[in-house]
Amino acid sequence: MEENEDQITYLTFVLNDELFAVDVSYVLEVLQNVSITEVPKTPEYIKGIANFRGEIIPVVNTFKKFNLNENSVTERNVIVMEVNVNGKQMKIGTTASGVRDVVTFDDKDIVPIPEIGAGYNIQFLQGAVKLDNRFVLVLNVNEIFSHDEIVILSNASES
């Protein structure tokens, strides 16, 4: 494909067998074999905390977000992203089964996903892209860690 300004670079990763893509501009690092410490009294979609360059970051259980059960724990990867939540820059880790290639494609290549039968909140996704005959689900980073959820997290001490 020719390089043009509309092309955005994405990091692809897998949750079980499902392929996802996330805009690299949000990605700080991919941690491998990192130990995630569980934190009590937190909702299911928070896996725990991890040590990222000396800083404590929350790790979101991405599987839970998409209603998946983590298949195998052979490759334990955490993708560390920096996102803007409620006006503040936050570093957040997300779990993945493994990371794959870095690809580029256009905004216009992204097709919407039908709501029916999704089983999860499709707002988490911008849409889907066809790459090499496979469908890749494109993450909507800002929605995944939306303001509401972080607030719920903050109030979830009783759960």
């Binding site: 410490t37 928070i46 404590i56 936050m90 997290l153 979830a156």
Partner: protein, 683 residues
């Protein structure tokens, strides 16, 4: 140039704080001359340096201000409330001028204050006719000035120095220009000119020193000359022997002594008596007055960023030390072990040192608290005395900075709602003047700050009614007095029937509690109707590194601050299941019990050799059940982040030597969660 200017502004603001402290003291001890002299000196210093950095308005204002205090210290003007009020106004304006980018913005304010100052001087000053025949109740000084050869490179005009000294009193001087030809002088590469000054003056030694501010210490000497010690001229002549003999011909020591005596005779008619300088009075702490000895410590100012970086480096060092300790444990190599032990000791000392650097005495926020008390009492027409104890108690810099706002609010409350109007106090058999007492002291690993007043106290009944009205509690709820008092900390609660302009708006008691909480502290309140109220704030001394006990339950590591730990025991022969939040017997008492596994839903079973750790907070104790105790760990506290803000039972996390993370338990909160009787369920 800009950085020097910034440094000057920082120095100047510090001087102004010193000034404010002096003014507060002066108000209590109006006849204490030494304070007036202090103020004069402070203003004099400020005036000089302000001019250098182009702060003309500051220089001008300070000059006028200094004149007033000059009159006061010479007995021409007496201190009164009006002058002190004016002085505070001047201090405030000076602060504004120093921070302003454009001085001219304050032209009108300056003119107004100058006007008041002049008026003040006219009204109060007595007859000035004696000026011409000024008698000096004076000191005599002998000053030797021998500047280095680069004096002109330093843009110092010796003549102006002479003029300045002359302005201090009555001066006679001898200038030795030496009889060494210029050629020789150049070869010597020394300045061969020197002065002998004979001065009779009212000023004290430090003012004379100020004249020589731009000279190096070894270029001048100032001696107090006492008539009765005239024979003792020898010591200082001998000290400067090489000056005299090198640079003047025919030097004869006895002749010199005569010359000195004779010159002093010349100025002695102006000396009425020689007075010993008054020692600075220390106020007696036994009478619970404000403890205020001007602390003479040598110190340097360090930028916070540098300190923060130092702290970070120390934290990393502590972490790496932990890693090395771990490796040593595994390898068990003798030589390594002893080296690691030494390194541990050193790192500990280093850590303690750096933490200590960040500690500053709480006194630094007292000035503002006192000033607020003063002005608030004035505007409310209440008579209030502010007493402080333990102002030298030290806290981490960050904690102190964040404390000021909540403490101001608490004191505002005491003054506004607590202390009654003088008439009411008298009617109740209380002294007219109310007292607000500020205490700071250490207790265990915490700092306690108490604010007490002998005012009206808080009525628990009023709180109950208000809380019912605001639907915070049910009419049938049984709450103890302490529980009721603590309702004050609920957001939106305010018992004042009118929101006064001063308190009760925005910064509520709930905000105070939140800030204290964020500093990992606690706040407690006690009150008796008619007697007064006491609020206690408890804070950790430092924020960053604490000694902890590392324990494990399931796969999760927990850290318990050693300061809170009382004992560790094995739990034997007691049923373990279903015990969470129940009670166990300890030390002939029943204390509440938490099993971390059950409390936090951790997988697995409680083993029969599980350990119990008894933690305490003052008198209150609870027992914690864990799987294993792994040892001690110096925890560098890392915040968990906003996401976990509401998990108040954790005060953060720490990175262990093996890279794993451990959760730090907030023992006070855990113990606190048992406070209400409702949480006790006996087996």
């Amino acid at each position: 140039m800009e950085q020097f200017k910034q440094k000057f502004i920082a120095d100047a603001l510090e001087l102004l704080q010193k000034l404010e402290n002096s003014l507060l003291m002066l108000e209590e001890h109006k006849s204490d001359k030494s304070i007036t002299v202090d103020i004069f000196r402070t203003m004099h210093t400020l005036k000089g340096t302000a001019g250098m950095y182009g702060f003309d308005a500051v220089e001008n204002l300070t000059h006028h201000f200094e004149s007033i205090y000059d009159l006061i210290r010479n007995g021409k003007l007496t201190i009164n409330k009006h002058i002190i009020d004016l002085s505070f106004k001047v201090a405030d304006l000076l602060k504004k001028l120093l921070s302003a980018t454009d001085e001219s913005v304050y032209k009108i304010e300056i003119a107004a204050i100058l006007n008041e100052l002049d008026v003040g001087m006219d009204n109060e000053s007595g007859a000035d006719e004696k000026a011409a025949n000024q008698e000096y109740k004076a000191n005599c000084y002998y000053i030797m000035l021998h500047p280095d050869i680069d004096i002109y490179k330093r843009s110092i005009n010796p003549q102006s120095v002479v003029d300045e000294i002359a302005a201090l009193g009555k001066l006679e001087y001898i200038l030795h220009t030496g009889e060494i030809p210029l050629v020789e002088q150049e070869k010597l590469k020394e300045n061969t000119a020197f002065w002998e000054f004979f001065l009779a003056t009212n000023s004290d030694k430090s003012e004379i020193e100020d004249v020589f501010i731009f000279f190096l210490d070894d270029e001048f000497d100032i001696y107090t000359y006492d008539k009765s010690v005239a024979k003792g001229c020898k010591p200082f002549i001998e000290k400067h022997l090489d000056n005299f003999s090198k640079y003047s011909n025919n030097f004869n020591i006895d002749a010199k002594i005569e010359e000195i005596k004779a010159t002093f005779e010349k100025i002695s008619p102006f000396i009425v008596e020689i007075v010993e300088p008054e020692p600075i009075k220390e106020v007696d702490i036994k009478n619970e007055q404000v403890v205020f000895a001007p602390l003479q410590r040598t110190s340097i100012r360090v930028e916070s960023e540098k300190l923060d970086e130092l702290m970070n480096l120390v934290s990393e060092l502590v972490n790496i030390k932990a890693r090395i300790s771990l490796i040593d444990l595994e390898q068990n190599y003798d030589l390594l072990t002893s080296a690691v032990d030494e390194m541990s000791k050193l790192t500990n000392k280093f850590r303690d040192n750096v933490l200590d650097i960040r500690l500053i005495p709480i006194e630094s926020i007292l000035v503002n608290l006192k000033r607020m008390t003063r002005s608030l009492a004035n505007s409310l027409n209440k008579k209030i005395e502010f007493i402080s104890e333990g102002s030298d108690t030290e806290l981490d810099k960050t904690i102190i900075e964040n404390l000021e706002s909540p403490l101001m609010h608490l004191i505002r409350n005491s003054i506004d709602h607590g202390i009654e109007l003088p008439a009411e106090r008298l009617a109740n058999g209380k002294p007219e003047t109310g007292t607000v007492r500020f205490l700071a002291f250490y207790s265990g690993s915490q700092v306690f700050i108490q604010i007490q007043d002998n005012g009206a106290g808080i009525n628990p009944e009023k709180i109950r009614l208000k809380a019912i009205e605001k639907k915070l509690i049910q009419p049938t709820d049984k709450l103890s007095k302490t529980d009721l008092l603590e309702l004050i900390f609920t957001p939106g609660f305010s018992t004042a029937t009118t929101v006064t302009e001063v308190s009760g708006r925005g910064v509520g008691m709930d905000a105070v509690q939140r800030i204290i909480s964020e500093l990992r502290g606690e706040i407690e309140i006690d009150s008796e109707v008619g007697l007064g109220t006491s609020i206690t704030v408890k804070l950790p001394i430092t924020l960053s590194i604490i000694d902890t006990l590392l324990v494990k339950t399931g796969a999760t590591n927990f850290l318990i601050p050693v300061a809170a730990v009382e004992t560790c025991e094995m739990l034997l022969n007691k049923p373990l299941s279903g015990l969470n939040r129940k009670q166990v017997e300890y030390d002939n008492r029943l204390i509440p019990f938490i099993s971390l596994r059950d409390e936090f839903n951790i997988a697995g079973e409680n083993a029969t050799d599980a350990k119990i750790i008894v933690i305490s907070n003052n008198d209150r104790k609870i027992a914690i059940l864990v799987d294993t105790i792994l040892g001690e760990h110096q925890a560098v506290i890392k915040p968990l982040g906003d996401v976990f803000k509401n998990l108040d039972f954790l005060s953060g996390a720490s990175i262990l030597g093996n890279g794993e993370l451990a959760l730090i338990l907030d023992t006070n909160k855990l113990i606190g969660s048992f406070k209400s009787a409702n949480n006790f369920v006996t087996i």
